[in-house]
């Protein structure tokens, strides 16, 4: 069997999981807001 992950590695992985989840949530929120802003800008013309 492959070596069991050390607790440091596990902590690092948890951090990576949390950070990447937050990153993708921000990307999703960015798409949501940017299309509304895009529509506002277009409507203002």
């Amino acid at each position: 069997m492959a070596a069991v992950l050390t607790s440091d590695a596990e902590r690092a992985r948890r951090r990576r999981v949390r950070n990447s989840a937050i990153l993708w949530a921000l990307v999703a929120a960015g798409f949501y807001l940017s299309f509304i802003v895009l529509s506002l800008v277009r409507a203002a013309k």
Partner: protein, 535 residues
Amino acid sequence: MADAHAHDATHEDHDHKPHGWRRWVFATNHKDIGTMYLIFACTMFFIGGAMAMVIRLELFKPGMQWVDPQFFNSMTTMHALVMIFGAVMPAWTGLANWMIPMQVGAPDMALPRLNNFSFWILPFAFTLLLSSLFVPGGAPAGGWTMYPPLVLQNGASFPMLIFAVHMMGASSILGAINVVVTIMNMRAPGMTLLRMPLFVWTWLITAYLLIAVMPVLAGAVTMLLTDHFFGTTFFTAAGGGDPVMFQHIFWFFGHPEVYILILPAFGIISEIIPTFSRKPLFGYEAMVYAVASIAFLSFIVWAHHMFTVGMPLAAQLFFMLSTMLIAVPTGVKVFNWTATMWKGSLSFEPPMLFALAFLFLFTIGGFSGLMLGIVPADYQYQDTYFVVAHFHYVLVPGAVFAIMAGVYYWLPKWTGKMYDQALAKWHFWLSTIFVNVLFFPQHFLGLAGMPRRIPDYAVQFTDWNMVSSIGGFGFGLAQLLFPYVIWKCVRSGTPVGNRAWEGAHGLEWELSSPPPYHSWTEAPSDALIARGASH
């Protein structure tokens, strides 16, 4: 590996598995959540199917027979929303939940509580949506595309529709984030990206698509909401807004959505055909690049859904040619599946039968899609039953057959039991015959000029509508076999070993059948991963 099994066998009481209703309501285990997604999807499949029966019953003969036009329009609208967001997408998420951790060598999904939350949003969203059938003015009837200004004329059901769509979107986005994070962070050491099974690859790309486009749909329906209730005029021409802009935004979501519905199917077919051909998948890397190319192209073809709305010639040419380009990576995939079978030692168990039907019938849907992508031809086909035939060939013998193929492929792994294959073959043959009786005549109706989304039609369309309706009733009845086969398997299936199918490869087949509550509590060895990755 033996160590891992011994470990699992002696640690069953360490599962901390809650019992009774708590196991499901507070579920954080990927298999439990996957099971709930699949049961939910199956329930929605039959609710959406019942709506399709109402549609086909009304269209059996010309003239108004059973329902009033408003209710008919509600049925077409709700059928689409239920099938797309309630049946097919949750079914894929259910399969992803079940299989991705097992296939990448992880104990569970990366974010189990988020997983629970994203599932439990769905029953509330669909209760809200379906309850709109009982409010004054009836359920939404403006089509699943929710085009303004028509959709703004809905009564009390309008805010229910908008809130339900927001909740479905939130569920999909959270589920997609979970999939991306799991695949990128939870793979066992040695499970490199190009060793991942195709199902994991296709889901990874699907999840990126979901994160990119579901918020766009949410933005569009938020603007519909503010137009309706807060005096904005995003899409109201009288206030300086532009209803066509909604169509652009909607289809910027809508076309990638089509690939969200079908890319995981490509993954499943790429798992099944090698297993029952007893050969590695032909051109594994080409398949990965083809899926990525299709996903990229899906962002630059949206306006082929709206050629007749009016746009500059250059835009029409651009969207026509970019649509044609999708045929290239799709052709690569069909070629590779065929080449995988070439000189293989084929056998025709139910998953393989569904996969083969997918190959033939999805390709028919692809060809009619190419026809629709040609601008001058599309002017004739737009909003006719030809379009209905096209997307149903893509979604029913395409996505739905692939889901059934996946369930029949992995059910022995999930339950530890083999189902009644004879009954599953009956399900396959009845489904395949009737799905063609149902949808193929709709090509003729569309080419002859029958418009879609109408409860009544001219008498010259009667014969093919009758044939189509008979196919619809037969297909609907045949689907009752599906839950029966599963129920019978769970109750009294014959026990199977770890590798339920002789030619199966992949980490999931190294686990016991049924697999332990936590899939890989210790990372699988490199040798095991290499053996599973013999694509």
